[in-house]
């Protein structure tokens, strides 16, 4: 039958397609991992050395030597979890409210916060936080990271809430739920993939942001990306330690993403029959 022949052909074609899709990313990160384990002699030579003459863990060690890595990691964790948590807490209900009452004007206002470049916030925030005594505090960092995450969370969730049919919620209301109750019991579970996506994205943006911490906080509160800079010396950029630092800084996010994946795929569980 024509259908099954097409299906047979589809598989290897699809596989090839996936390979092509993954190639740039696979190559880049293979290169980065290899940079991190090779000694500097290999990292600088041309033609490029793909198979190293000897592997070394020195690059990773130098990252820990050049930064109080554990402290930075803790700071990053506090700020990222704090701002993402707060963002989800405030943002999910807000997105629901906007979607249901179609108040896109408010939505636009919220998006505005994401529109101005971060640079323009630095000076006024510094002055503001100094005046109210929040300079060099976790609170200040969490609030500023909220700016990055909240609009993102809200606008992603608006789309998901729009897709939840009102009938489902109305049914719950008839059964004795309040509107808020139907939000919690009906709408939210249905939009779990959205929450997962929004949460992980907000976390990533907060994790990778460091300029806010550099300007608004002192040495004790610096966040992890700073560790990447600490391995760069001025006389030469050390590729090995740089790659190692980048990998170390990215790992926690990667692990989190893997844990959260499950929630994103719940809707796809049925073997991907959508198209």
């Amino acid at each position: 039958m024509a259908v099954s022949r097409r299906k047979v052909l589809q598989r290897p074609l699809f596989g090839l397609f996936v390979v092509l899709l993954m190639l740039p990313t696979l190559f880049f990160f293979f290169w980065m991992i290899s940079l991190s384990f090779k000694p500097d002699a290999d990292n600088l030579s041309y033609p490029p050395v793909f198979i190293p003459s000897g592997l070394t863990a020195k690059n990773y060690l130098s990252v820990f030597e050049s930064s109080p890595f554990a402290r930075y990691a803790l700071n990053s964790l506090i700020v990222a979890v704090g701002s993402t948590g707060l963002g989800l807490l405030l943002g999910i209900p807000a997105a629901y409210g906007i979607a249901r009452s179609a108040r896109y004007g408010v939505g636009l206002f919220i998006l505005v916060a994401r529109m101005t470049p971060a640079l323009s916030y630095l000076i006024p925030w510094f002055i503001l936080f100094q005046r109210v005594g929040l300079a060099n505090t976790y609170h200040a960092l969490i609030l500023t990271h909220l700016i990055i995450g909240l609009p993102l969370i809200i606008w992603i969730m608006i789309g998901f809430f729009e897709d939840v049919h009102r009938d489902l919620e109305d049914a719950a209301v008839i059964d004795g739920c309040s509107r808020f109750g139907s939000f919690v019991r009906v709408a939210m579970p249905l939009t779990r993939p959205g929450i997962a996506v929004a949460g992980i994205l907000a976390f990533i943006f907060s994790w990778n942001n460091f300029i806010f911490a550099v300007v608004l906080a002192g040495p004790r509160l610096q966040t992890l990306p700073v560790a990447i800079f600490n391995v760069l010396t001025f006389e030469q950029i050390n590729w090995g330690p740089l790659a190692a630092a980048a990998i170390l800084v990215t790992s926690p996010v990667l692990i989190l993403a893997m844990l959260v994946q499950r929630h994103i795929i719940t809707g796809l569980a049925a073997g991907g029959l959508k198209g």
């Binding site: 030579s45 510094f126 550099v214 002192g218 700073v226 030469q236």
Partner: protein
């Protein structure tokens, strides 16, 4: 980095980091008769820019604490972020930072006019606050000039002097029977003779806007030109020397530098040179350490170091810029901050930073010290070039408030010249654009 680690270990064993009453010229021995502990119990925040010597200084924080009882939180931040953090703090008169590193060639006039440097004269003149062997004169005129204001106020303590000189492949030059060029004509001839694209290019240098201005400045000064007139109030960037030097820079970059050099900063140029792809590279001598590191470079032992070639109007010289340590006038623990600065800029500490962190300080006593000469891994002619550069140093940038904007505007013009634009027109355009900015800053 294993070489450096073992050397550090040797120093540690040999000199002892704990206070040992041996008085070698270096080692962190506290000076007898000076009370380092007078500010005991205070704490400081120190903001340093990214540099290998500051990374070493950061690691020495515990030594400072042991010596003085002052806890110093030392933060090393890349230049781009420091440019955002520091002015915001100082502008808001914040006391969050006590001591900071200042790039005098960029910041001096701006910061001084803004009142962001605490004058150090009274600290230096106070025998209770400055160790008797500190020796300000040891910094030499090239160092002290940079940190002193027109009226004699001392703004900061001299740190690492950037020495823009000349590095070349002495093996390739020897093949052609050439020595280090001492005139621009010799330079051009050498570049042509050693140019064998695409394996070896005659020249590599900075083309990236902003970074390229000091390189052009070398050609300019060599020809006897200047950025400003003697009064410092008018630009002389359309003089015949300016145009001729820009033309030379652009044509060398276009014809003899590797493709893409138009976007090179020191980092890319260093890569090309250390992999043996270029026959000469004028840039800072402080970038030499990786060139002589066998784990990184293909040209170890083949690099010659010299001053930048001159002309009849200017003998060979180097272009200087300097890093310095300054005290925040709004800080809460100024005496403690001064003690940190005095310690960090002392002969003992600067010697160590020279060996381990490529500091090219201006303390002349260091370069003549046999201990230093023995411990310095870089070759003899590098040390000679450094000494010569310090003596013949001319500032590589104009002494104005808006240096960064100058570098930006003229840097763009230079880039356009490399792409084929006419030097005269472009210089005139850049001068016209910068003139009002200069006038405003002087007003």
């Amino acid at each position: 980095m294993s070489d450096k680690i073992s050397r550090r270990q040797v120093l540690k064993l040999g000199l002892g980091l704990a206070a040992v009453p041996a008085s070698t010229a270096w080692g962190g021995t506290p000076t007898a008769g000076f009370d380092w502990q007078q500010q005991k119990g205070k704490s400081l925040v120190v903001l340093l820019t990214q540099a290998p010597y500051y990374t070493v200084l950061q690691k020495m924080g515990p030594d400072f604490e042991k010596l003085t009882g002052i806890k110093a939180e030392i933060q090393v931040v890349p230049e781009q972020q420091v440019r955002q953090k520091l002015p915001i703090e100082l502008n808001a008169k914040s006391s969050g930072i006590d001591v900071y590193a200042s790039s005098m060639h960029v910041e001096k006039r701006l910061f001084a006019k803004a009142g962001w440097y605490e004058p150090l004269n009274k600290y230096l003149e106070n025998p209770n606050l400055t160790p008797p062997d500190y020796n300000w004169k040891d910094f030499g005129p090239s160092g002290t000039w940079w940190v002193t204001w027109d009226d004699g106020t001392i703004l900061a303590t001299p740190g690492s002097l950037g020495l823009f000189s000349f590095m070349y492949r002495k093996d390739l030059y020897a093949e052609k029977g050439l020595k280090a060029p001492t005139t621009l004509d010799e330079l051009q001839a050498a570049i042509k003779a050693t140019h064998k694209a695409p394996t070896v290019y005659g020249f590599v240098g900075r083309g990236l806007k902003n970074a390229n201005v000091p390189l052009w400045g070398m050609f300019l000064t060599s020809m006897g030109g200047t950025y400003l007139d003697p009064t410092g109030t008018n630009l002389t960037t359309t003089s015949p020397e300016a145009i001729e030097s820009a033309r030379m820079y652009a044509s060398i970059m276009k014809d003899y530098a590797p493709p893409g050099a138009i976007g090179f900063n020191w980092n890319e140029a260093q890569g090309s040179f250390s992999q043996g792809m270029a026959a000469c590279w004028p840039d800072g001598l402080n970038f030499a350490a990786p060139l002589e590191d066998a784990t990184k470079s293909k040209v170890v032992g083949k690099v010659g170091y010299a001053l930048f070639p001159g002309t009849a109007k200017q003998k060979p010289f180097s272009g200087t810029a300097i890093d310095a340590l300054a005290l925040n006038p709004f800080g809460k623990s100024k005496e403690a901050g001064w003690l940190f600065i005095a310690w960090a800029s002392s002969r003992a500490v600067q010697s160590r930073l020279s060996i381990e962190g490529s500091l090219t300080g201006t303390r002349l006593s260091i370069y003549n010290d046999p201990e230093y000469l023995k411990a310095q891994p870089l070759p003899k002619d590098w040390i000679e070039a450094v000494k010569g550069s310090i003596e013949s140093g001319r500032p590589q940038l104009p002494q104005i408030k808006d240096v960064t904007q100058f570098r930006d505007i003229f840097g763009i013009a230079l880039t356009k010249m490399i792409e084929g634009g006419d030097p005269k027109t472009l210089l005139e355009g850049a001068t016209r654009e910068f003139e009002p900015i200069l006038k405003k800053s002087l007003g």
